[in-house]
């Protein structure tokens, strides 16, 4: 590829793509392809063009392409099924409104390997994308990066390198929940994990393990059950736990929906919560305080997580870099009425 040497016109922000094409010795459509993040450009050509764009002080499209009348960011979910999602929407919408930005709520496509979705957002001139609980592929991340579309993830399965992620202190939450049960006198404490692929599930389980270890309680693999963040599987696993000869007196569920599944399993077995079985959830979705009994759970500041994700994205779109690629907001335990001392200890009172 022919490449001319040109003097960067520092100070000017209105470089034309024709100038860059001329400087790079390529056609205008090729420069346009690079800017739009299209993959059909040879890597060395892309790099040369990107270097020239940077030298010329080209302003990324994400910053300038939207009409000042309506600036929008995209909030994409893998599924829109839980109260967790609603609180995140609330946080993102509120923070975006303060910045005069509108929020497009959508679903990430089923095909995790395709980049059609990323291409569509690129062509729709997205100002930036917040992805929630989705598996985002390296190809998708590369596509957004080439198109200069900022990306922020909330509770991803894996955090793609260099992509800011926002979440709660899940390990600490798992630790606190389990410590609460141990402090009440429980020794047979089971857990039902969330979807194992999710980073937050793994962190909560490790918090549970750490609390047991600190209390010198040997781990019992029989008391660790794998869930999927849903009610049904948690109820099934809880029924198995409650049928054990030496059944647990407390269960730490990895989210509130799973805790409801445990409460229902107890009801089916004729056990009372909390008199016969203590249950702790995670999330503190609104409904958890309206359960019967009101649920002891680890509060995640979901609205605030949405706010911070939005603010991080807007900063990226304005050309800033966050101080840290990972932001973790504090969790705290909310003690309500689903936990109590275990039956044998309780009877001593």
């Amino acid at each position: 590829m022919a490449k001319q040497t040109v003097t960067p016109k520092s100070g000017t922000r209105s470089v034309t793509l024709a100038t860059v094409a001329q400087a790079a010795g390529v056609s205008l459509p090729t420069v346009s392809k690079v800017i739009r993040g299209r993959p059909d450009v040879a890597p060395e050509t892309r790099q040369a063009i990107e270097r020239l764009l940077a030298e010329y002080g080209y302003v990324p499209r994400a910053v300038r392409r939207q009409s000042p009348k309506r600036r929008t960011l995209d909030l994409a979910f893998d599924a829109l099924g839980s109260a967790y999602g609603l609180e995140l929407i609330n946080g993102v919408v509120t923070a975006a409104a303060e910045a005069g930005v509108d929020v497009v709520v959508g679903l990430t496509p089923d095909d995790p390997h395709g980049i059609q979705w990323a291409q569509r957002l690129t062509e729709a001139s997205a100002m930036g994308v917040i992805c929630v609980t989705s598996s985002i592929t390296a190809e998708q991340v590369a596509h957004f990066r080439r198109a200069k579309i900022p990306l922020v993830v909330i509770d991803p399965d894996d955090v793609p390198e260099g992509v800011p992620s926002v979440g709660a202190m899940n390990w600490l939450g798992g630790l606190t929940a389990t410590e609460h049960l141990l402090a009440l006198g429980h020794r047979r404490v089971a857990t039902i994990t969330g979807r194992p692929a999710a980073l937050c599930s793994r962190a909560r389980l490790h918090g549970y393990n750490a609390a047991l270890e600190a209390a010198k309680i040997p781990p019992d693999p029989e008391l660790v059950r794998v869930g999927d963040f849903g009610f049904d599987l948690a109820r099934h696993e809880a029924l198995e736990l409650l049928a054990l000869p030496d059944r647990p007196t407390a269960i730490f569920a990895a989210n509130d929906y799973q805790a409801f599944g445990v409460v229902e399993a107890a009801r089916i077995c004729g056990l009372r919560v909390p008199e016969d079985l203590s249950v702790v959830g995670f999330d503190d979705v609104a409904i958890s305080r309206w359960a019967a009994p009101p649920l002891t759970t680890v509060h995640q500041p979901l609205m605030k997580i949405g706010r911070v994700a939005c603010q991080t994205l807007l900063a990226l779109a304005a050309g800033e870099r966050p101080e840290s690629d990972r932001i973790e907001l504090a969790t705290h335990l909310v003690v309500r009425e689903s936990t109590a001392p275990p039956p044998d200890v309780g009877s001593q009172h």
Copy 2:
């Protein structure tokens, strides 16, 4: 106002505003104001200009103003707090995605009389607006109409004339819920209504009344309590009902959150659901089947309501008129485990 007679150029859709301004004998900014729905134009001038725009076959901005790359509609809530809202979002987003339209989720402003919100959406070139459970004023409706921005409402307090609304068969739902309790043998059936201003609350209460009337049970004003669709007030009212000397054996709550409040009140009073008290909710939000006990409730097809509202809006934006301004989707009773025969009847078994 001077007005020239001009021959409409039938067949051409690309009339310029300058032509209309000339024909109406007004300035270009005045025509522009009429198109943008601004109120500061004398009514007779507005009418003359609107007539000319129609004669010239002016295509409303809502249809043509958006980039083909990204068409968006607005989904506006008075509050984003309940699972009800999430299921509507899911329905609207799914139906819009099928039409290649993106959905901006936002909040209607607190000031119910202001039209700043309507103006902002007009200037943001909204393709159309779906308003959920909001009080929408005549001024706002007039503003959207002048700006040719289609409007659809879901569960409004009042249905503004000429605005299509989508909802569930609330009266029939209230009737079915109450008939179910009467069929189980209950005679002391109370209800806790939703927010009295909402049309759907009034319809559900009338359904309850109709069922009692058909069963020749005289109405007892003491058994009709006013709620606000929230857990706390419903629990408070249920505690009062359960403290009555001749307490009800069944309560029809006007939504699921209120039903959870009733279940919690029963727990506080040491009453078992359903053995001592039957409870019926309304909505069938996902969480209702995960309650302890799983809730008998009236299923509203919320996702479908969202879909139909979206399809109605897209049809309006394409220049079609719906066959009916009011679309009601069927409800049905889902019998789970929170209802049973009343204690005295049950003991005869």
